[in-house]
Assembly symmetry: C2
Homo-oligomer: 420 residues x 2
């Protein structure tokens, strides 16, 4: 844990999630600068002057007081300690695991993310689709959501959604059934199970994917947190598809975030007699969303023309020589046949356990390795390519055209593998 | 019956429906000129020369021979006599009842139309919507079609469709239940009942609306006739809505005609798990059709902004002073209270029985009169307007803005009430 982690953990207690004034303060003075200013109850005069020129100038004094009171009560070391005990990690902008597409959120970019699970968040979201919809899903909506979870996963796309009943739960279950990582974005602390009957689901998601939140540990969900959470679901993924939504539904809020972020938006039609499809039909009618009737059509929308759909390629999405040093060592330690557990791979690679688990998640999401009943092993090469000798795993695997992994991503300025 | 009627009835026997070469021949030399040329087996040389310059020049000799043989066997007087006996009338371009929006079909405009029923075809189609879809409709599709039949009718819109099982039948039944005219477009003679179990339905449609066809009496349906018939359904109405359609469905053919005629096109979504909605979803996905979930949304699409939807107005669509002389006399003879049968109205108006029936249908479609259990009577004025004294029925009824009835029609060059 660095001082930056501590400062951000403190600010995550001080400011509400998505507080754009805090976002601008941190952007200009750094997290530690912001902490100092809040502690001293004195904002830099030039910052205050600029905020006063906003179209709707905030009540800076009140805001600063609120931050100050909360910051005084915050104990970031205890938060990080509690996270570590429960198995969660705090990632911040600049962390190797940070999904840089979140930068598109501007001042509402989260200050940090609590991540709990074996997958690497950044890798998992490289090719990801948000599947959202009604809590009060119909049997039809739950069926379609599960099909999308299975179908997207089987084509190598990670599913991102909330943790609610209905569509959220169904799509995660589909991804888990397909033995794929899944990304659950909560509106409460990652150690809080809401809804509580989803404890088994969240445990499975942590085992195979990640459960994440921008709320500090122990924080309970509120309506406002659900709405502000939705921007993360939209921003993490290349596109959002709404499976079922009534005319007033939180899923439409996620859809609006996707549109404002210029991400792709799809809507699944349903019977016109179903109120739970009325929101989807409104999106289609207003031509805000594309009509999506299958996972393939969603991949067609968010994928790369001639790559994702035409070939249904499962070749690694990222060139081997772009991998970070520890990730490459982990990859070299993964057996081609049989399988190995994370512990033996960590030993063979000479990389720490946490870093190994993170690298394994990333390598799986990027298509290099797969999880079997016997543990991790190298993924079989596509039959379209000449069968490689076993030593070939040390060479870059055959990535059809795009050795530059950024070229098929709609997230600009994303150097994929970060500083790691 | 005029010589023009006879010539066209003969040509309708000689040429296949939708024969565009015959269409061009008649356009240039008139129906009687075309009959003479076919009888003499000699096309005008300049016509033949021009046809030879078409991108795919037709085999004119073969075509002329076919026409000649069939014309020799034709007996137009017998056709018209048979029609009259069965109760059908032949209308041709220039007839007061001819829907001039069919002119948009260019050379494939029908040579004439056999019309059987009490309604006036032209009046009925002034504000009309084609509702089409799968023969093998699901319970969902049949339900939605019936709802559209009722809803469109209750808002003063006439339904146009084929006579098939499934969506066609359901939408007509909805219109009939709403006690409104309906337009059934057959791909066989109007005296042929196909499918035969629709005899009751067609009888009801004749009583309240019209059953029409461009095929001469006695002609049986073929696949080609169904497809060419679809252009009439699209051309008669201001817009087409597809309720259910598989990926290969005749309804999509009607949709293509509507698009090529620049008419509005809507598609009703359904469950993505239903193959009978896949064609609708394709239209939505390709952004060829607007997503339509209710009759109101279809009216919003084809209607006049601020008139048809905003007010849900049931005011007459056509100004009284634009009515033809006999229609005006019939209108003056319709009582304001109680009701009167066509026979007593005909006597009071001093207009023949056939013309009276036709005028009544037209006046009902245009919103002037309504059918009650006691017969025809003037429609109650909108409550939004001051209650008019009874003598006010002799003045033009209050038509909100548009005294020019052509202004809310997408059919250009349409002088609505023809030469009558």
């Amino acid at each position: 844990m660095t001082a930056e982690h501590g400062a951000r953990a403190a600010l995550m207690r001080a400011a509400d999630v998505g507080d754009i004034i805090m976002g601008r303060l941190v952007a200009q003075y750094g997290a530690q600068g912001a902490v100092e200013a809040v502690r001293a109850r004195a904002l830099p005069p030039e910052f205050a002057a600029k905020e006063a020129q906003q179209e709707r100038p905030p009540d800076l004094t009140a805001r600063l007081n609120a931050w100050h009171v909360r910051l005084s009560a915050a104990n970031p070391e205890a938060d990080i300690e509690a996270g570590a005990v429960s198995g969660a990690r705090l990632i911040i902008p600049g962390s190797p695991e940070w999904p840089t597409q979140l930068d598109h959120l501007g001042p509402s970019r989260p200050l940090g993310l609590w991540v709990h699970g074996t997958a690497d968040l950044r890798f998992s979201c490289l090719k990801s689709v948000a599947v959202v919809g009604a809590r009060a899903a119909t049997a039809y909506g739950a069926h379609v959501a599960a099909e999308f979870g299975v179908g997207l996963s089987e084509s190598g796309w990670t599913v991102v959604s909330g943790g609610a009943f209905g569509v959220d739960g169904a799509v995660h279950r589909g991804a888990l059934v397909a033995d794929s990582p899944t990304v659950v974005v909560l509106a409460c602390g990652v150690d809080v199970c809401y809804p509580s009957s989803h404890d088994t689901l969240f445990a499975a998601a942590r085992k195979q994917g990640v459960v994440i939140s921008e709320c500090p540990p122990g924080v309970h969900p509120t309506r406002a947190r659900f709405l502000i959470r939705n921007r993360l679901i939209a921003a993490l993924s290349r596109g959002t598809v709404v499976v079922e939504a009534a005319l007033r539904s939180g899923a439409l809020n996620t859809a609006a975030h996707a549109l404002s972020l210029h991400r792709h938006l799809g809507a699944v039609p349903g019977p016109v007699t179903s109120a739970q499809s009325a929101g989807c039909h409104r999106l289609l009618r207003d031509r805000k969303a594309i009509c999506i009737t299958s996972p393939e059509e969603m991949i067609d929308l968010v994928g790369v023309l001639g790559d994702d759909l035409a070939s249904q390629s499962r070749a690694p999405a990222v060139a081997r020589d772009k991998l970070s040093e520890p990730t490459r060592r982990v990859l070299d330690a993964v057996p081609a046949r049989g399988g190995a557990g994370p512990a033996s791979i960590a030993v063979a690679a000479g990389v720490g356990m946490d870093a190994t688990i993170s690298a394994l998640g990333g390598l799986a999401a990027a298509g290099y390795i797969e999880r079997t009943a016997n543990g991790w092993r190298l993924r079989k090469q596509l039959t379209a390519y000449p069968k490689a000798p076993e030593s070939a795993v040390l060479d870059p695997p055959p990535t059809p055209e795009h050795t530059d992994p950024t070229q098929d991503l709609p997230f600009p300025d994303d150097n994929l593998f970060g500083p790691g």
